[in-house]
């Protein structure tokens, strides 16, 4: 369980995030949605200890993210940002292998190698595993990064807009992979999404944010309401029943 208690972040006098109070239960996919500047990424980065919390407390599996040893936290929680600085002369397999760093400190065991192979296969990168990262397309590179964080085998996986810059096919494929990671490996995935319909189809829970506050948190059915979404996005949004569940039309 991820518990956020009165967490705040001040960027400037007018730009404040929080106080946030939320308990994200274990297992399944939780989608963070909301307009630009609502504080989705900030919240995710604070949970993933990549951004300092100015006030309040965040617990992941009862470990305080600010006081727990980074090395112990790295076995419980991982986070992938939108842009990643990538090193040249690094192959897909070597990149995914970095996911084992918290466990083996860079000395890969036979067991580590099997786990690396497992996630490379899981994200369908088997034939690309010896390619350098700069020889991949954007979608393939994104899959490699996701393989890297899954390879860390942490209970909690945080992803900041993993669908950014992916076309429809690549985006659907990515969400299918995440869904399977949640189902088959029992991971708790928290993901920032821009497309409400992707959230509606693949997530178990949706957390909607607006003006640095949590506007609503609940199951897909609870959140996919025309009044609620129209209010959050300040645009007229209708909900129709589609073949795969509710669809937002705007």
């Amino acid at each position: 369980m991820i518990q956020i208690r009165n967490a705040r972040k001040w960027y400037a006098e007018e730009v404040k995030i929080g106080p946030l109070n939320i308990e994200i239960p274990k297992a399944g996919i939780t989608a963070l949605i909301g307009p630009n500047g609502a504080g989705k990424s900030t919240t995710l980065l604070m949970i993933g200890r990549l951004l300092n919390i100015d006030e309040g407390q965040i617990l992941v599996a009862n470990m305080d993210v600010t006081t727990t040893k980074s090395r112990d936290l790295a076995k419980m929680l991982t986070i992938l940002r939108q842009e990643n600085h990538f090193v040249t002369r690094l192959t897909v397999r070597q990149l995914v292998g970095f996911g084992r760093f918290p466990h083996s400190q860079g000395r890969l065991t036979r067991e580590d190698e099997e786990i690396i192979s497992k996630y490379i296969d899981f994200l369908e990168l088997t034939d690309l595993e010896h390619r350098f990262l700069d020889e991949l397309s954007g979608g393939q590179r994104q899959r490699a990064y996701v393989a890297m964080v899954l390879c860390q085998e942490t209970e909690y996986v945080l992803l900041d807009e993993p669908l950014n810059n992916l076309d429809i096919a690549r985006a659907v494929q990515m969400m299918e992979h995440l869904r399977r990671a949640a189902n088959e490996f029992g991971r708790t995935i928290v993901v920032v999404l821009h497309d409400i319909n992707f959230a509606a189809k693949y997530a178990d829970r949706i957390c909607a944010m607006k003006h640095g506050q949590i506007a609503a948190f609940g199951t897909v059915q609870d959140i996919m309401k025309p009044e609620l979404l129209s209010d959050i996005f300040e645009t007229k949004i209708e909900i129709i029943e589609g073949p795969y569940g509710p669809i937002a039309v705007y």
């Binding site: 980074s70 990643n84 090193v87 002369r89 192959t91 918290p102 400190q105 036979r110 190698e113 595993e129």
Partner: protein
Amino acid sequence: MSVLDSGHGTAKPEADAGPRVRSGRRCTGAFRSAKEARRYWMLLAALVALGIIASLGLLLYNNPVPVDSPSFIPVVKRRLTAVVSMFIAALCHSFATVAFQSVTSNRIITPSLLGYEALYSVINTSTLYFFGATVFVRFIGTGSFLLQMALMIAVSLILYGWLLTGKYGNLHLMLLVGIIIGTGLNSVSGFMRRLLAPSEFDLLQSRLIGSVTNAKPEYFPIAIPIVAAAVFLLYAFSRKLNVLALGKDAATTFGVKYQASILYALVLVAVLMSVSTSLIGPLTFFGFLVAMLSYQAAQTYDHRYVFPMAFAIGYAILTGAYFILYHMLNSATVVSVVIELIGGILFLTVLLRKRSL
């Protein structure tokens, strides 16, 4: 090979992915393939051989006394000083630059940016300016060497301590401040130099251009253990450096204490740069040249392999350049000028064609 059974969600295309032969276990080496690993070791062996040949050439070639003469060995011993200082300089610059570039996740900067060389030039210029030529000429020896080294390490520690920890905690801010301090110090020494008499300026100039002839054998008992320790610690830090090169966020995600780790690496870099600069003087682009070539030659991200390659390249370049210029072109003093020229041109080329980084 796949641990997962198919039949879930999306189809798995790897079954028909072609007859890619994968004999035995799949594993994650530092190199892409066995062929690249072989190429690495062959290149490394060739560079080491080149370095050894050039050093033997420097020691033995064109010896004015015959081999059987009793004064043959003293001549070799005197030449050995230069070779040892080349060894130290190559070690310092290669390790310091590669580590510095990885820690800053930036391959177009060199640790010289932090103002070691500017500080060295200020120390020397101000000695001459304030105390005159007699003191300046005597301002060599273990005392002055230790003083310069200690000052440079102290300044970088203050810089790191101030800007890397606490409320700033920002690497780029530190680099920027380092560059500005360096430029400031350079202008100060430039100003003092302008007021010197031509004869004094000539004395100074020889010390401000990096040269192995600046080194004195009595510095070695201090310099060698310090360099050996710093190099050993940096090499032992290789696996962490691999992660740090991925950037702050990735390193934190993998449980590396980012601030503490970069501080540790930068202190070692400061030690190496200070020893090298106080030993032979400034070599701004040498480290950059070596690091750039070693990435191309090593074809791996892994510091355990990049470091030895960088050192082998650095040593081969230094000894090779000295041998050619000294024994074939009879102009020993311009070695560092030539190295800086080539390094500077390469720096500009890389900067303008950043894609090939």
